[in-house]
Symmetry: C2
Subunit: 147 residues, 2 copies
């Protein structure tokens, strides 16, 4: 099993704004994909859609301003059964976001792509909170021929 | 042992320009850090310096337009002994860059940071080759309180 790891810091006086951006449909639509639907509550399923496909995530855990965990229940074969884990904490004037996409079976080329793509979406989250403007799909940053 | 994985595609008619950007001091200075020195040849050592420190890399392998491997011989403790591996191949109008920073002992928070930071530098490499302008240190994209 192999994991994608990332860390960004959002200039914010507390983790609440970051927490809201990953636990509300409106927040998620502001930085990941504008086609986000579903229930952002424990046991609910979030549906993220992109021009080329999408992911359904069951919310496993939501601890306000501290931790969010999703399990992938539908999407590309390599993603199904993996988990997305978010840990938040305040460090001075930054909210630190520790991100892990855990449990890939093999370090396939698609995992390399998703690692870079997650980084650009985390920068989109940072931008949304710091400037009011994110870059969610379909206007996301292109990284390759796989978009 | 855990690895950082990334994949970007550079719009380019052949891998040669990407290969040059990772195997010449001038190329490396255009997207990673403008304070790059050393010998970009097998057995040589490249010295990358940033405002907060730097890395020395021994060049282990250079296969034109295909593969480059460096070993970290000086720098932060967590980096020493790790390897940086670049694989290039052409896919239509894109040069695909498969990047791995291999052999971290533990998935520490600093590794999360470096994973995201590598993604932004790979986007800087892509930008350099597609537009003529990269974002090397000290003008690199800030991702957190750790820069």
């Amino acid at each position: 099993m192999v994991d994608i790891l990332h860390r960004v810091g959002v200039e914010s006086p507390s983790p609440e704004k970051v927490y809201d951006a990953i636990t509300t449909v409106e927040g998620l639509a502001g930085w990941w994909t504008d086609d986000t639907k579903g229930k952002a509550e424990v046991g609910g399923v979030l549906e993220f859609r992109f021009p080329a496909g999408g992911f359904d995530m069951e919310v496993l855990e939501q601890r306000p301003s501290e931790r969010v965990t999703w399990k992938v229940v539908d999407g590309p074969e390599e993603w199904i059964g993996t988990t997305i884990d978010w840990q938040l904490r305040q460090d001075g004037d930054h909210t630190i976001v520790l991100f892990e996409h855990q449990g890939w079976e093999e370090p396939v080329e698609f995992m390399h792509h998703c690692s870079t793509k997650w980084a650009t979406f985390l920068m989109s989250l940072k931008s949304l909170l710091e400037t009011g403007t994110g870059a969610p799909a379909p206007d996301d940053q292109r990284i390759s021929n796989w978009h």
